[in-house]
Point group: C2
Chain length 541, copies 2
């Protein structure tokens, strides 16, 4: 048993761009080799990026993958373990890892456990592998697992029986609150239980609605966490195995963040990656004087810098003067481009055309929606003219119950708070204010009662329960799948529960047309929660 | 071997409403019993409806299913074969058929082949069964298959070896052009090959983006099609087995439709079911004088009747007088509610607010989008005020390349032409005009060159190739997954192909926020084509 150095490439791929990823991975391998690494481990499917979705169904995948692998084979004097899509002679696809050294593919491992739940659709694309791949280096026996494989204990058990001392795990494990801790606890427990060293490499970066948080980890056979890559950042982590003491040499680990700080930083990364990877010069958003847009603005500035962020306050008759003041104060504090665009002439234009149709109908939500849609169209016009992406500022609580206007405040290409309940919005805002001496969100924005300001003296709580109650009910219904009866039995008001559940069900059509946004929960709206729009479930009670 | 009568219940379920479906199925069983049927066969998952999607993950599914099965067990003196979700003692779900008679569940069959491709996600929800269920009645041996099972030949082969003479197949097979013929050819071939009678029962009705066309069929062991239910309609089909001649007695079959007629009728059904099952009083749409909105209007009137359809012409400076004339003429011909709403005051309102921001920027797509979004917001205001659902009138070709305005002409809850290429739009319009003496779509609407009328003298063909070329390229890229190189090699202009493919890739974000619409192709935008928004595939060429 000899010393060796392993490089964990916590890599952020460009999804689908195999040629570019191959070049990047080659450069990283050469860099690691120069640093003396014996082995470099990349994340799951690093060559195409995770999740490639239906790009996998394109027949040209095979040719591109072969070209990508050829590029990787140019690396010299380092063992490369690279995630890629293997296409066999029958056209079957596998989620695989290639073991490459000096131009040769020494072995191929196919992922054995394919997740097909939550955000995962791997059975749509892949066949499962049925055997382990073991290789030797420096007197060590290495085993390979890919993501879901490590969650199924028999795989680790089998590798242990096969005499492996170190497992290399390639992952693309999406974030949700609590997930980094859960992963680390699992891997640490397995390491200890089977007395195995585990090298766990995760993808990093935002991809559409998914966040990959990185946090790649190395664990000794006694369960000790030896080294950990940073959350969020693309990074190469080098770890040395000390053959004399039969363990990896421990190194300083990054400071851990509490969950709210972690979520905040990941939302920032998610916005940055979406905007940059889509090629937008910057973002624009509507600043209302409320907390959602204030927090979104803070996230945008942290993601892109003030010079890439534009905000517009769009007051109307019902907008309080303090809303305008607070919006302007925050914009000034952050140094972003800020403008005020009155929507009265627009709403008047609509009413001029609509009055003959409306006749004497009393005012209702229609007129409120007109305000929201005038604002949405204004933002889109500014986006079209100057090229900035519109950020939608809605949160999960309002999206759940449809307390938002389709084509109005819902416009935008990306919705940073889409999976953030209102009660968490408050915590994130307070967190952000706590990390700088001068708060970036005016205190009054956090303390005043939330209002859509679409009619005189309107408050969110006029039509909804308080947000702590609303969010508790939503969490039980959405994240925990509890039934109406179950929730009522926990002591919530029956009428309130029924109303909320009816609203969640009825507003599926709105959510279906909403912007994507980063997933931070265990049940985000989007690919993870597939509900029919025409849905008789609740009516059938 | 004795005579028997089988009832094929081509049923249209309310998705998720188990209690209501159970009552309806019980009534249908009692009706069949009164007509002398020995056996009634319902579609796949009839008790909850197909596809139930993530409703299946709700723990209360088990209790509701048990209640539903209790209702079904009230049927007397008839054998019932009912599709439902079986939940076993470990909480595992199966896509199952219950064999019920006089209050007893005599047997349960679990679907063995679970589709997890195209629009199907059955591995997300179900475990696969591993054994056949055979039952005897009137001296016959019956086997059971569920949908995908019949497409896997070994299942029929096994039933044949087990001595079965008649297979009962429960289906929820979604429509795509050519699918009814494909199904019938398959079933007929299997019947003949194994000398088996096959009773094929399909769900009928629209559910969100899926169309179930019905067309339930009975086939004798010699491959002869004995009986067929109508396309589109909920229906009970009775077929008698003549023991003396060892075959089902042949009966008159409905007239077959050609594909264009079939698509038209199914789009009508799909609109009707979406609107009625969502509880809207009617629909509203923007009539532009162009062919897409004209066809959508004809479909809406056929689906709901003229008194439930409202159309608005929303002219602007660039709207040709003949557009207004043609729109009005069609509205009058169909007898719908029609109004004209000038958008000039609205666009002027926007420009008044925007001019200080725009400065001296030259006019571009921004100003065009403002027109489209003013119209979209007008339609939504009329929808909000009077309750009608907005139909979006865009077609598949323009949605593919993004030749449409998000939050503008894309607004709406349902998009009848979403999966219809522009070349097919023309065929459907001509078909609809052919079936009545006075055409419902003014001839000029069909013959004029298509234009969005967003700037002076604009024609679609200024920015796009002719629609026959555009659609040919789109079909190869979207439906057939051909690569850019493959398509160019077929003789299409390289620059045109590259431009179109780039547009398809870049406009995923728009499609993701578009309304759902009925699927008629083998690759519809939506749940069937899951592409990343941030996507480096084409850039990686």
């Amino acid at each position: 048993m000899r010393n060796f150095k392993v490089a964990l490439s916590q890599y952020s791929p460009s999804i689908g761009n195999i040629a570019q990823n191959a070049q990047n991975m080659l450069a990283l391998a050469q860099q690691a080799q120069q640093q003396g690494a014996d082995i470099i481990v990349f994340p799951e499917l690093a060559l195409i990026g995770y999740p490639p979705e239906d790009l996998l169904l394109r027949p040209s995948l095979l040719k591109r993958t072969q070209q990508g692998l050829s590029t990787l084979q140019q690396a010299k004097d380092i063992i490369m373990l690279a995630g890629y899509v293997h296409v066999d002679e029958n056209g079957q696809r596998y989620n695989s890892a290639a073991l490459i050294k000096n131009g040769e593919i020494l072995g191929i491992y196919h992922k054995q456990n394919l997740p097909n739940y939550s955000v995962f659709d791997e059975e749509r694309y892949f066949e499962a592998g049925h055997q382990h791949l073991i290789f030797e280096h420096a007197g060590h026996k290495f085993g390979i697992l890919i993501c879901e494989d490590i969650w199924i204990e028999k795989n680790t058990q089998q590798l242990s029986k096969l005499g492996v001392d170190t497992i290399l795990v390639l992952n693309a494990s999406p974030y949700e609150a609590g997930k980094p801790q859960q992963r680390q606890a699992l891997v640490s427990k397995l390491a200890q239980q089977y007395n195995l060293n585990i090298v766990y490499v995760n993808q990093v970066g935002g991809q559409d609605d998914l966040i990959f948080d990185g946090a790649s980890t190395v664990i000794n056979g006694d369960g000790e966490i030896v080294a950990q890559a940073k959350l969020i950042e693309q990074q190469m982590l080098y770890v040395d195995f000390d053959a004399q003491h039969k363990k990896f040499i421990s190194q300083e680990k990054p400071q851990t963040l509490d969950t709210i700080a972690e979520i905040y930083q990941l939302l920032v990364m998610s916005v940055r990656d979406y905007v940059n990877n889509s090629g937008f010069p910057g973002v624009i958003l509507g600043l209302s004087g409320g907390i959602d847009s204030a927090l979104t603005l803070a996230i945008a500035v942290d993601a892109l810098g003030a010079n890439r962020v534009q905000a517009v306050m769009m007051p109307y008759t019902y907008t309080a003067q303090i809303s305008v003041e607070d919006a302007a104060a925050q914009a000034q504090r952050l140094g972003i481009t800020f403008g005020i665009a009155e929507i009265n002439p627009i709403v008047n234009g609509f009413m001029q055309t609509l009055t003959p149709f409306f006749g004497n109908s009393p005012a209702d939500a229609t007129e409120e929606n007109l305000q929201a849609r005038s604002r949405g169209t204004l933002l889109m016009a500014l986006s079209n003219k100057f090229g900035n992406l519109v950020l939608s500022t809605g949160n999960k609580s309002e999206l759940a119950v449809g307390y938002c206007t389709l084509y109005g405040d819902m416009v935008g290409g990306f919705a940073p708070l889409k999976d953030v309940y209102k009660t968490i919005v408050f915590e994130l805002a307070k967190y952000r204010n706590s990390i700088e001496e001068t708060p970036v969100i005016p205190e009054r924005v956090i303390t005043r009662p939330p209002s859509a300001e679409l009619r005189p003296d309107q408050k969110d709580q006029d039509s909804l329960p308080t947000y702590d109650i609303l969010d508790a009910i939503l969490y039980m219904y959405i994240e925990e799948d509890l039934s109406q009866e179950d929730i009522i039995q926990k002591g919530f008001d029956a009428d309130v529960v029924k109303k909320i559940i009816r609203l969640v069900d009825r507003n599926e059509y709105k959510r279906r047309q909403g912007a994507i946004g980063p997933r931070i929960s265990s049940r985000a709206f989007g690919r993870e929660r597939r509900y029919p729009i025409v849905n008789g479930w609740t009516a059938g009670l």
